[in-house]
């Protein structure tokens, strides 16, 4: 079946079964490799993308559900420069170890900062609680998101 949607600002069309998980459509049919499969069951957050600006686990979204809607992945946010602060903050804060969870965290953090440019540590914890990291113990990830918020201050948050 033909399904069209907006991927990172561009219209795309794929020929897939409407049940196929969005995660697999992105990776297999559209070569979007920043979305990772850690569990395939909505339990780890490594496959997080934005669906009409809201973070969702793409392994739990069926291709048919995104028809006509807007999907944003790390690739899209990176090329628009929207996450350069977050990326720099993740690097500086030492929030990256194996890196398998990193794209998912950056997406969740981006969505948080857009809603709430000055979150407390607890608000950050809640916002990324659906993303699992087995390497860092989270402290430096939370540091990174705080740092990115600092960078953002004074900047127009309209992206």
């Amino acid at each position: 079946m033909n399904i069209s949607f907006i991927l990172n600002g561009n219209k795309v069309k794929v020929e897939v079964s409407p049940e196929k998980p969005l995660l697999r459509v992105l990776r297999e049919d559209l070569d979007v490799m920043s979305v990772k499969e850690g569990c395939g069951r909505g339990e780890c957050g490594t496959c997080t993308v934005l669906l009409d600006e809201v973070p969702v686990t793409s392994c739990m979204v069926a291709a048919g559900q995104v028809r006509g809607r807007e999907i944003t992945t790390l690739e899209g946010l990176e090329s628009s420069g929207a996450i350069s602060d977050l990326q720099q903050a993740f690097k500086e804060a030492g929030a990256v170890q194996c890196g398998f969870c990193t794209p998912g965290f950056i997406i969740s953090a981006y969505a948080l900062l857009k809603e709430n440019p000055d979150p407390s540590r607890d608000e950050i914890r809640v916002a990324v609680s659906g993303n699992i990291c087995r390497c860092t113990g989270y402290t430096k990830i939370i540091d990174a998101i705080e740092l990115a918020a600092k960078y953002n201050k004074g900047l127009n948050n309209e992206i």
Binding site: G38, G81, D85, V126, C135, K140, L155
Partner: protein
């Protein structure tokens, strides 16, 4: 859209070399590596925990299923049907007998992952089921079903030091307790995966997620029956390992390679989470009995200990785990009389193997609670009791090894107590939520030690290019812990060039000799020294070229701030490289390092077990809700003596990440087996900590340089996982007055014990 304004960027020197590719989603994990015309593998597995294989009922039907290109059973393995680990007992594919649920019996390759999976699921094996044995203590009984090893013993070690009976005679107070711990699952976020590909001249190349490319290389030689030169193993970006990708990838790789060899096509074999849970290694469940004897003054005079771990169906790395356990079981204390035994038992459960800490978290959890129990009995402050007995330079470990000068034990203790304000914590909480504090101390033998001394070596190659940039080929892997960055720093600091000039190449077994595994916190010490050795050799060429130019002797030259300096002047690093190229000096060299002077006498259990030890102290504050049994760790401070720190952010990250795994181990992570089969094989069934469960771990780096280490460094990957569990349970005792002696310590365990206490009180009142 506003253009991001440039901001004050901290000097990039603190940023890990692998960070950029990871924050941009461009790191290539094995599933991200693209191949044309690739087949997909799947594994046909045992549906029972123990049985005899009678046949494969529908093999032909499966072969004819859509997309299926190959089906392989044990009889088609060209080499030996063995994946070699410490022993050679683990078949690549089960032939006659299956010994655990999910053991691999046959393989399929098909055009799509769905077709491969469908074929594997359709397979019907004919198996006569045998009774199984699932518990290590049961496995020790004389009439137990035979599973493996010598009478179900995969491995046995002992230590006999001094005179244990005399020792206890001299004790005024004796405490003896038994402690139990469950399985722990690595839960690296990237599941196991490999791609095997036939390449030129009849060779096979395998790429994937792994900690030990050389183990994989050995396994492929064995299983395929190929010459070493016909195998190539390359590590892809690896999404966490923690020991789970030490030995297990050899199995995945061997399976992928068998399919590639048979079909002549690249084959990808990538596990899903459930398959990974059922079949890959775990931390050994344990039962630890320890008995301490002490004088009234608090001097430890004797320790008797017994450590029994459930090794699962095959031996894999159980001996190394059981050995590390016994070496450390008496705790970081100087004790004269010791008797200790350790057993790794065979059962019909998933084989257990390496997991951060290698058998040490289990024993540390036991001895560090017992030392607090002893303090209570002696009516002594647990810190005081520790201070009287802790190892210091010159003291002797359990194996009679003399502690060297690099020993920051006492300093880690003081700094931790200071930071958490241990003295000030006593409060009386009125409500149902009680607060408490606890500590634990740890010593940790760096590397594989005498039991793994054949692996205690590493190679590297340093190759300077025309513009001064450098390629470094290594044999130890980056898996998140920061090895690439450490090697980068060691090489750059040795040559005097900037960090961004040094490229660390992906580990490839054709580039460097066998460098042993990347485990046991050994990458910095062993791999780092190999990089340094290679860098020093090429630096000699640079010294020579610079000396010639300046008209001095090579040894008159020093490096400072990227310049080669002598009394006659100074030359920039890049220009020195230019000179070296002009005078055709050698610009590439192989480096090598091996660990000397480790020993272990199997009869007495004495010897210089490890080249060096690192030391740490953990302290935490917990909150126990006595109504629900829920425990929250409010603070955790961990001080680690790691020799010299090469890259502080990575070192801190190791401490925080390891402590997080330890908090999960102590309080949340509960793998449930029924009749040998895992019943909660998912990240929601087996819960690992999220941001909501953890506090910010506060790391402290204590430096006590180790002369043999590169720039004084020891090693840090594992120790952070070792100590926190005991500190947490000691804190729970402080809060509730109850000693818990099992991990994970779940809310239901706590509520049960607290209720017991309530029930008891009225009786005592009567």
């Amino acid at each position: 859209m506003p253009v991001a304004t440039p901001k004050k960027v901290k000097k990039d020197s603190n940023i890990r070399v692998d960070a950029q590719r990871k924050v941009s989603g461009k790191a290539k994990f094995i599933e991200d590596v693209e191949y044309k015309n690739i087949l997909h593998g799947a594994t046909i597995r045992s549906p029972v925990t123990h049985g005899r294989i009678r046949g494969f009922k529908n093999r032909d039907e499966i072969k004819n299923m859509p997309g299926v290109k190959a089906v392989i059973t044990a009889d088609e393995i060209p080499g030996d049907n063995i994946v070699p680990f410490v022993k050679e007992d683990y078949p690549c594919l089960a032939e006659k007998e299956v010994k655990f649920y999910g053991q691999a019996v046959a393989l399929v390759a098909a055009e799509t992952p769905e077709e491969a999976k469908a074929a594997a699921e359709t397979a019907e094996l004919i198996i006569d089921e045998y009774p199984g044995i699932y518990d290590s203590i049961e496995s020790m009984t004389p009439d137990a079903v035979y599973v493996g090893g010598d009478d179900n013993v995969h491995s046995y070690f002992k230590i006999r030091k001094g005179n244990i009976d005399e020792g206890f005679k001299g004790a005024d107070v004796i405490v003896e307790r038994v402690y139990n711990s469950g399985h722990q699952v690595h839960c690296y976020l990237e599941n196991q995966g490999m791609i095997a590909e036939p390449i030129q001249n009849g060779a096979i190349s395998v790429k994937g997620s792994m900690q030990c490319p050389f183990y994989v290389h050995n396994a492929l030689v064995k299983v395929l029956g190929f010459k070493y030169s016909k195998v190539r193993v390359v590590q892809a970006d690896t999404g966490g390992g923690f020991g789970g990708k030490e030995d297990m990838p050899s199995i995945v790789a061997a399976h992928a390679a068998l399919l590639a060899n048979k079909t002549g096509m690249p084959v990808s074999l990538i596990y899903d989470r459930e398959e990974d849970f059922h079949t890959m290694s775990k931390r050994h469940p344990s039962r630890t009995r320890i008995k301490y004897g002490a004088t009234t003054e608090g001097k430890l005079v004797a320790c008797e200990a017994e450590y029994i771990v459930n090794g699962g169906a095959f031996c894999t790395l159980s001996p190394i785990v059981a050995w590390r356990g016994i070496i450390h079981i008496t705790g970081p204390y100087e004790i004269e009389n010791i008797k200790a035994d350790s057993y790794a038992m065979a059962t019909n459960t998933v084989p257990c193997g390496a997991f951060r800490g290698f058998g040490q978290p289990q024993v540390n959890f036991a001895n560090e609670i017992l030392i607090d129990e002893l303090a209570e009995k002696l009516n002594m402050d647990p810190v005081e009791l520790r201070k009287k007995n802790l190892l210091k330079p010159g003291s002797k470990t359990a194996t009679n090894q003399v502690v060297g000068s690099s020993c920051g034990m006492a300093e880690t203790l003081d700094k931790t107590l200071d930071k958490i304000k241990f003295k000030e914590h006593k409060g009386n909480d009125k409500g149902p939520v009680k607060k408490g504090m606890g500590i634990s101390t740890v010593f940790y033998g760096v590397g594989l030690g005498a039991e793994g001394k054949y692996f205690a070596k590493a190679g590297a190659q340093v190759h300077i290019k025309e513009d001064g940039t450098v390629f470094v080929a290594i044999g130890n892997v980056e898996m998140g812990q920061g090895a690439e960055t450490v090697f980068n720093r060691i090489c750059a600091d040795t040559l005097g060039c900037s960090y961004d000039m040094v490229e660390i190449l992906e580990p490839d077994t054709t580039r460097v000799p066998d460098s042993g595994p990347t485990v046991a916190s050994r990458a910095t010490l062993v791999g780092g020294n190999a990089v340094k050795d290679a860098a020093l050799k090429v630096r000699d060429s640079l010294f020579k070229a610079a000396a010639q130019k300046m008209g001095v002797k090579p040894f008159d030259i020093k490096i400072k701030d990227g310049k080669y300096i002598s009394d006659e002047g100074e030359i920039d690093y890049v220009d020195v490289v230019d000179l070296a190229y002009l005078s055709r000096e050698r610009v590439a060299a192989q480096g090598w390092y091996k660990v000397e002077n480790v020993s272990f006498d199997e009869k007495t259990g004495l010897g210089d077990a490890y080249p060096v030890y690192s030391y740490s102290t953990n302290a935490c504050e917990v909150e126990v809700d006595t109504e629900t049994g829920v425990v929250k760790v409010n603070r955790l401070v961990a001080a680690h003596d790691v020799g010299k720190t090469i890259h502080p952010p990575s070192a801190e990250g190791q401490i925080q990440g390891g402590a997080a795994q330890a908090i999960g181990y102590a309080l949340y992570e509960n793998l449930v087996l029924e009749e040998g089969k895992i019943v909660n094989p998912s990240l929601s069934g087996y819960t690992i900590p999220t941001t909501m469960d953890l506090c910010d771990v506060e790391p402290i780096l204590v430096e006590s340089a180790y002369d043999e280490g590169p720039f004084g460094a020891k090693g840090l990957g594992e120790p952070p996982m070792v100590g926190p569990a005991a500190a947490i349970l000691n804190a729970i005792h402080d809060a509730t007055g109850i000693w818990f002696r099992k991990i994970p310590c779940l809310p239901e365990d706590i509520v049960k014990e607290l209720n017991k206490d309530i029930n008891k009180e009225p009786k005592e009142l009567k």
